[in-house]
């Protein structure tokens, strides 16, 4: 208790010197939490967007469908189980039909994935309702990346060529009804979306789909023969793996920031012990043991961490909360650099992150305060009193 009392007295007495150290350390707290919060928010947003735009809450794949093998697409169609029809009509399940096709932007030929999806679906964030229109034309959706790379605009007429179930080639023009903006490239790059019924007709597979995507409602009981269930964990395994990889790099960043903060404390302590040797000698002369002085200097160093946590809370909580609420705008350039980043990232600050950061900083602050303070135990008090130790 006495050590704490004296440490607080010394810290307050040191005035500006203390507050400068405390401010630098508090910046470390806030920056560590901010950076990790931003990366967590980015990861969480990427996964959430993927669920909202691509995977839904779960999928059923036609047994032949293999997304990494385009040759399977030619015969990955199966009849949509009748038990699911009501949910499909309500838009709670989105059947998706996928085939390989070609289209001809500005006289070139380009392979694409042609996807059919019900225009009334409510499972994915794709603006499929904009495909509802004149039944004489085929309305289509493309993503922003696809539109940019092929100079497609809303209202353009695009020629498509495909092969139906029987292997017969056919072609038609589709009108671009809308261009959607998403940061999920798996529904954008190299893809054109048209109404499901149109594609079923074009491929001559009425009532069939390649995969079924569900929203929040669970699959009802149905005859699942010919369909393979894929749960959310399986569907998001790839992005989970990427997040895991990014966690390592964020841990490296975390350590670098922490090391910088600790270096500041260590340096302050070394300088402080050298500069305050007369004070150390006097404290010993007044009746403190050397180890009491070591303890006092260690607690003083560690108290920087405590005061920094309080200061960080004072200005950090409003700052971090506002970032979390209003988001961090991301520059447009990141998209053109090939990074799928949303316009805004909303940082996520978990209690675990905050507690771990505080505890970690406090423990390391105590250790780096103790290491130079150990020198005091070897000091000759008679030399220290005269300030003669070099």
């Amino acid at each position: 208790m006495l050590t704490f009392k004296l440490a607080i007295r010394n810290l307050i007495g040191a005035g500006l010197r203390t507050w400068l150290n405390v401010f630098v350390l508090s910046l470390s707290y806030v920056v560590i939490i901010y950076m990790n919060g931003m990366l967590d928010g980015w990861n969480r947003q990427a996964k959430t967007d993927m669920i909202h735009w691509d995977t839904g809450q779960g999928q059923l794949w036609q047994k032949n469908y293999d997304p990494v093998d385009p040759f399977t697409l030619q015969n990955s169609f199966g009849p949509i189980p009748g038990e699911l029809n009501n949910l499909v009509k309500e838009g709670q399940i989105a059947p998706v039909l996928i085939t390989m096709a070609s289209f001809y932007p500005e006289g070139r030929i380009q392979s694409i994935l042609l996807k059919g999806i019900p225009d009334n679906q409510k499972v994915l964030d794709l603006p499929t309702a904009s495909m509802i229109g004149d039944s004489t034309e085929i309305s289509a959706l493309v993503g922003k990346r696809m539109a940019q790379s092929n100079r497609i605009k809303v209202g353009d007429l695009i020629t498509l060529r495909w092969r139906d179930r029987n292997g017969t080639f056919d072609a038609a023009d589709v009108r671009i009804a809308a261009i959607f903006d998403t940061n999920v490239p798996t529904v954008d790059a190299g893809q054109i979306w048209i109404p499901l019924t149109r594609l079923q007709k074009m491929l001559q597979v009425p009532g069939e789909a390649t995969l079924l995507i569900r929203g929040k409602s669970e699959w009802p009981s149905f005859n699942s023969e010919g369909w393979v269930s894929k749960d959310l964990k399986t569907l998001t395994a790839e992005i989970d793996q990427i997040i895991k990889g990014k966690s390592f790099s964020s841990a490296v960043m975390y350590l670098i920031l922490l090391l910088l903060a600790m270096l500041a404390i260590f340096d302050t302590q070394v300088l402080s012990i050298f500069r305050r040797q007369r004070e150390i000698g006097t404290q010993i002369a007044l009746g403190m043991t050397r180890w009491q002085v070591v303890k006092l200097f260690t607690v003083e160093g560690a108290m920087h961490g405590v005061l920094a946590a309080i200061l960080a809370a004072i200005y950090g909580i409003p700052f971090l909360a506002s970032q979390s609420r209003f988001g961090i705008p991301m520059p447009k350039a990141t998209d053109s650099m090939g990074l799928a980043v949303a316009e805004k990232i909303f940082p996520v600050y978990s209690i675990g992150l905050i507690i771990i950061t505080i505890v970690f900083v406090l423990i390391t602050a105590t250790i780096v305060s103790y290491l130079p303070a150990r020198r005091i135990s070897k000091m000759n008090p008679t030399e220290a009193i005269r300030g003669r130790i070099q």
Binding site: I12, A14, Q283, I284, A285, L286, G287, M288, R290, I385
Partner: protein, 234 residues
Amino acid sequence: MESNKTVIEIRNLVKTFPMGNREFTALNGINLTFTGGEFSGLVGPSGSGKTTLLNIIGTLDSPTEGEALVMRHSVGKLSQKKAAHLRNLKIGFIFQTFNLLPVYSALENVEFPLLLQKMNAASRKKAVMDALDWVGLADKVRSRPAQMSGGECQRVAIARAIVKKPEIVLADEPTANLDAENSHHILQTMVKLNKELGTTFLFATHDEKVIGYLRRIIKLYDGKVSSDEIVTVK
């Protein structure tokens, strides 16, 4: 206070320090005895061993040979913890450069030894105010060392040394950084304390002003006692 009882006894004390490959003998065969209530001084030129002897008596250093008994405790045999305890309870220090804790106020500086004794807050406050009153600084309790003159700082240092009512006060060149007026003021305060509280004062000095107040003068030369004389009080 243990007036007329032996408080310090030094027998055949030798102190050497390593100096490169050789040994430097700072004290050589010192024999001295101090009784309670003495107002004495170790006098001699720089390098004669005054401060070394004072440090040994103050348990900040230990003899190489011989024995130094302080309050019947053999300095060389004391553990670090016991030596600290003895310094905290029985020995007060006054330094040439005051050695006040720079970030503490006068009150906090004087309070420091009592905090180590874990004295309760009310008794502590009273003792601190009494000590500051003694040295005439009751109105400077909130001042920090940087805000006080040299004389005031030394008076705070005296208050810090006497606040715990020690048996012995060791003063190493206490007036070296003070002008004549302040030096006399400080010395008169010490004489007053010696008379009223019976505290034993032992100085290390070569300042004539201090020597004029001493009632026993021990002259050291090259680490040896060259003379030890009682001064008759006029």
